[in-house]
């Protein structure tokens, strides 16, 4: 931990990996949730976007790694791109289904009461879709960590995954185990963090608000 391995201490490796996951995950959520909400609410948008989405979706995110490296080199940019891709899909799908699951009567009532578009979004769509959006975010976060490990194993210099790879070449099982456990703990901790954000958000926009 203090003496360092593969060119950096565990704390440095962890910091570097965590940053990649957080950046990829946030960009994915910021792009994916609005897109999913739009697809759920607007039928023409859905008809336009869905075919492209279902064309790209069967390709596993990990299969993008070689192309990402080809485009962006072995640095962090390629990893963030792949993490973004992996986290993007669950965000979109869950936001999309979430809006579809909102009771149609709520929309009809809001429209009848003359709610303007913006209030429709803040008062009907967001509270109604929030629980499922968070389910999607949890899946996204998990996908982000899985992808990070793969991306770092394929080609990296200073991350947790890289420690795994170096340790394997040195045949140093206890170091491999440290790497695996660290990845597991980080995944667990970030999920915990997300769950507490979810709790706060659900308290702020409760579902049955009058």
């Amino acid at each position: 931990m203090v003496s360092g391995y593969a060119g950096a201490t565990l704390a440095e490796h962890v910091w570097h990996s965590l940053r990649l996951v957080v950046v990829g995950f946030f960009c994915a959520a910021l792009a994916g949730i609005p897109l999913g909400l739009l697809m759920g609410y607007n039928r023409p948008a859905e008809a336009l976007i869905n075919p492209i989405f279902s064309l790209i979706r069967p390709i596993p995110p990990l299969a993008w790694i070689p192309l990402a490296i080809l485009w962006l080199g072995l640095g962090d940019a390629a990893k963030v791109l792949v993490i973004w891709l992996a986290a993007f899909v669950p965000s979109v799908i869950n936001a999309h289904t979430a809006v579809r699951g909102i009771d149609g009567a709520l929309f009809a009532a809001a429209r009848m009461l003359g709610a303007p578009r913006l209030r429709m979004v803040t008062e009907v769509i967001i509270p109604g879709a929030l629980p499922m959006i968070f389910t999607g975010l949890r899946l996204s976060l998990q996908a982000a960590w899985t992808t990070l490990v793969a991306a770092e194993l394929v080609g990296a210099l200073m991350e947790v995954g890289f420690v795994l790879n170096v340790a394997q070449q040195d045949i140093y099982p206890s170091m491999i185990l440290v790497g695996m456990v660290t990845v597991g703990v980080l995944g667990w901790l970030t999920t915990k963090g997300l769950v507490s954000v979810e709790r706060m958000a659900l308290a702020r926009w409760p579902q049955g608000r009058s």
């Binding site: 008809a47 075919p51 394997q168 491999i176």
Partner: protein
């Protein structure tokens, strides 16, 4: 949900427009020289490359050969996961002690990404067949266990009581009462685990394999052969889709057979 839903005709038209736009963009961007063909091959180049790869070997084998070795590994890992995971899940659903022992272990392992096993897999089983199979197993195993367990927990209590009254043994209980009743849940789990297994396989092959589509893509990336990389992506997507469709068929056949 908007009340104004689209007519089927308009929906199809919009879908066609979007696919046409997608293809057009994909075609125009490299063709116009905005991005070099070397980095983003157009659709025509990719199709040409796929056709070429069918007869012409790359990285030691043709595309069908790479696909076959990937599929062989996938089947090995997936079947192993199903053969161990499903009975384990059913037993966990039936024996409370078993559940108490295995559940915390599985919960802990769930947070470790399948790909994180790669170094151990390579160390223990090598990079030929054993290592990748272990990674697929790590990806495909949890859904098998979890769904079999859930299925076993949801069996109608009256069935269990009737069987108990008739003096069914533990073994008979699992094979003749719990398993048949949990088949739909088990098959749903197999679908999830096939998807995860196929994904893990791709990841494993990128890192440790010496044949297979993933290996082909890494070699292509090292040689800056983007059209081969994209050809690999397309074939991985297609095979994954076919696996999913087959399992969905099976799922439908089983649920319909149950209703009949």
């Amino acid at each position: 949900m908007q009340n104004l839903s689209l007519s089927p005709g308009r929906a199809t038209a919009l879908a066609l427009i979007s696919l046409a736009l997608f293809l057009a963009f994909w075609f125009v961007i490299p063709a116009s020289g905005l991005v070099s063909e070397q980095f983003l091959p157009g659709p025509v180049a990719v199709v040409e490359r796929v056709v070429q790869l069918i007869s012409q070997p790359f990285a030691g084998a043709t595309l069908p050969e790479h696909l076959l070795s990937s599929l062989g590994r996938f089947l090995g890992g997936f079947l192993l996961a199903a053969l161990i995971g499903v009975p384990l899940g059913l037993m966990m659903g039936w024996f409370p002690t078993m559940d108490a022992i295995a559940a915390p272990l599985l919960d802990g392992l769930r947070f470790i990404a399948p790909i994180a096993w790669v170094p151990f897999a390579a160390l223990w089983f090598g990079t030929g067949i054993g290592g990748p199979i272990m990674i697929i197993f790590a990806g495909a195993f949890p859904p098998c266990v979890i769904n079999a367990w859930q299925g076993a927990r949801c069996v109608d209590i009256r069935l269990i009581e009737a069987a108990k009254m008739l003096g069914t043994s533990n073994f008979g209980m699992i094979t003749r009462v719990i398993m048949p009743a949990s088949i739909p849940s088990i098959i749903a789990g197999l679908r999830i685990s096939a998807g995860l297994g196929w994904q893990s396989l791709v990841g494993a092959e990128l890192i440790v394999a010496s044949t297979g589509v993933g290996f082909m893509m890494v070699q292509a990336q090292a040689n800056i052969a983007a059209s081969t990389v994209v050809a690999g992506m397309v074939s991985i997507g297609l095979v994954g889709l076919i696996i999913d469709i087959l399992l969905r068929r099976l799922e439908r056949a089983v649920t319909q057979g149950k209703q009949a």
